[in-house]
């Protein structure tokens, strides 16, 4: 009975150089976040316009103003929550023990 020689290890496949998928994912998050910021800014602008109109004696009903400010508040809160969680995930990765 013959024992065959131990073969060499197959060559390691090269590690994908910081592949494009990851980079586009981070850019995707950044873009989505920036879009979110823009949308929140848009809501705040709407609220500001309505407040100005009411303050200067315009015909905007009061509830429109309150609804617009509530929308802007919630949108800002949501943006903050998303930022907090992304930051938290980042810190979690930074704390990894190697």
């Amino acid at each position: 009975m013959t024992i065959g020689p131990i073969g060499g290890l197959p060559p390691m496949p090269p590690i994908n150089p910081a592949d494009t998928a990851t980079r586009s994912a981070t850019e995707g998050f950044r873009d989505a976040f920036m879009r979110g910021v823009e949308q929140v800014a848009e809501l705040e602008n709407t609220a500001n316009r309505l407040i100005e109109d009411v303050a200067t004696g315009g015909s905007t009903p009061l509830h429109e103003v309150m609804i617009a400010t509530a929308e802007a508040t919630i949108a800002t809160d949501m943006l903050l929550q998303i930022r907090d969680r992304a930051l938290e995930a980042y810190h979690e990765v930074m704390r990894l023990q190697l």
């Binding site: 009903p61 509830h63 919630i74 809160d77 907090d84």
Partner: protein
């Protein structure tokens, strides 16, 4: 259906109640508008509500809008006031075609409609806020 569809729907309801309140106020303000019996008397306006098409789960706009304001039918009640400048030859003036008690009830209903829509908005706001706290630390 947008992110804040409950807000948008509540806004239309509050808008309608707002116009309804205005309409009732207009009617009440004209409670003493007398006219000559030969002229068209003041007739109370009634708000007509119509739904915006679809419903809460379609893509189209949802809620309510004021489709029309119709004038009350009927004959004007005549009162005998011979000294009045608007009286006709027989001494009668026409009072507005309006049911004062009915207007007061409409006023209450409009106010309650407004409050109900405020409440639905408030509930939506609380729901959004608790959704934002999902899975958070605090």
């Amino acid at each position: 259906m947008t992110t804040f569809s409950a807000f948008d729907i509540g806004r239309t309801g509050m808008g309608f109640a707002h116009h309804w309140l205005d309409t009732v106020a207009h009617n009440l303000a004209n409670a003493n508008t007398l006219t000559n019996p030969d002229e068209e008397p003041f007739r109370a306006l009634h708000a007509v509500a119509r739904p915006l098409d679809g419903g809460p789960i379609t893509n189209g706009p949802s809620g309510v809008y004021m489709a029309d304001r119709v004038r009350e039918e009927g004959d004007a009640p005549l009162v005998y006031e011979p000294g009045h400048p608007l009286a006709d030859e027989e001494g009668f003036v026409a009072r507005p075609v309006m049911d004062l008690a009915g207007q007061m009830v409409d006023l209450m209903a409009a106010q309650r409609t407004y409050q109900a829509n405020v409440q639905s908005l408030q509930s939506a706001r609380e729901a959004y806020e608790s959704a934002l706290r999902l899975g958070g630390r605090q």
